[in-house]
Amino acid sequence: MAATVSVLVATPEREVYRGEAEMLIAPGIAGELGILPKHAPLLSALTAGELRITRGEEVDEVFVSGGFMEVQPDMITILADSAERATDFDEAQAQEAERHARELLEKREGDIDLAMAEAELAIMASRLEWIKKKKKH
């Protein structure tokens, strides 16, 4: 197994991510930063953007709105001002939309509405599938 570095992503309100990573790509204020294990100590301001945490095939995506990142050879601490895990966020949203579409279907108010609801449901279902697939890999 490849070397890993432990990663902590936290906002003042809560902990967003804690785990091991083979590589981390962060939106540094002066451009994207790719960090591998045993990186030299680094302290960087972050800008709004996507944080990609890679471990093997698995990629976790976290959206941070800015903050700071401390890198030590064995530990990366990301102190984000606010952060949203892409997977949590999208799946919840997609599920909500799917539920809404199903509700519309059940009501069956006119053919046009029904067709629209069916189309919406199909889109939402495929989106949910895609997110789940992305999560698996």
């Binding site: 902590l8 936290a10 302290l43 700071f68 601490t77 102190l79």
Partner: protein, 285 residues
């Protein structure tokens, strides 16, 4: 002696009060659990930033940011006081204010205050001359942005040499029954922290050391205050829960006493009626 009807009214009133306090107790209990969760959830960030600052002190000891430089002469001090918006939470605020009063009286220099929570504002207004910033109605699901204004004013005054030390006063959550007021020095800060990476080394800074350090130290101060606020919220709800529980118990005790009085009055009435009937019968016989 009060008539039976009056006492019945009193019993009803006390029972209604007990119902209300019971409901408030249950609400406080559920809010307390949430507030405690928030404290735990916020701890990751607070500990993370503390670790980073400790490493920073180790790595960069010659850098003297005003936040970490002790000032020779202290001419004025500032205090951030965190208290609740609402009352009915036992002696929680009173205990904290006692500590604040102690600080103000013992300080040989002038004190200015910044407050979070309505009770803190109304109290500090009375005991210090300068109430420089105040915020009220902080929601239970507090966010960092709720306190940035107050902390910003305190930092600004510190940087402008208006105050030379800043303290933070909040109630620390020990357990459900115990909350203790906690006074910590906020600025200058980061004294005597233990670093995890000893030896001589320094960070690579992106983009440069100064803006990164400035931003980090500011966030560190904010995070201490924010964590204090979360603790204070947990204290508020647990203190309220305990206060409401004892109020409910007291109300039940009063109802018990009133019921005894009521029964006595009722029996006295019956006795009198019997006596009247008997004497009436005796007179007509």
């Amino acid at each position: 002696m009060a008539t039976a009807k009056e006492i019945r009214g009193q019993i009803k009133a006390v029972q209604n009060t007990a119902k209300i306090t019971k409901a408030m107790e249950l609400v406080a209990a559920s809010k307390m659990r949430k507030a405690q969760d928030n404290v735990t959830a916020g701890r990751s960030y607070a500990e993370g930033i503390q670790r980073v600052i400790a490493n920073l002190m180790q790595a960069h000891p010659e850098y003297s940011h005003p936040f970490i430089t002790r000032r020779e002469q202290v001419k004025k001090i500032g205090i951030i006081v965190i208290a609740t918006d609402k009352g009915l939470c036992g002696g929680l605020n009173a205990n904290a204010f006692k500590k604040a009063l102690g600080l103000v009286q013992d300080a040989k220099v002038e004190v200015e205050a910044y407050t979070i929570g309505r009770r803190a504002g109304t109290f500090m207004r009375k005991i210090v001359n300068g109430l420089e910033a105040a915020t009220e109605e902080v929601p239970d699901a507090a966010e960092m942005s709720d306190i940035l204004g107050v902390v910003g004013v305190a930092i600004e005054h510190f940087m402008a040499d208006k105050v030379d030390e800043v303290y933070l006063l909040y109630s620390e959550f020990v357990n459900t029954m115990t909350q203790s007021p906690n006074l910590v020095q906020l600025l200058p800060c980061a004294q005597g922290m233990e670093a995890q990476h000893p030896g001589y080394w320094d960070y690579l800074y992106e983009p440069e050391s100064k803006p990164v350090l400035d931003g980090l130290l500011r966030r560190y101060v904010e995070s201490i205050v924010f964590q204090g606020l979360l603790e204070n919220k947990a204290c508020e709800h647990s203190a309220r829960m305990v206060a409401m529980k004892s109020a409910t118990d007291n109300a039940k005790g009063i109802v018990q006493d009133l019921k005894i009085t009521y029964n006595k009055a009722r029996q006295a009435g019956i006795t009198q009626e019997i006596a009247e009937i008997c004497s009436g019968a005796a007179a007509s016989a």
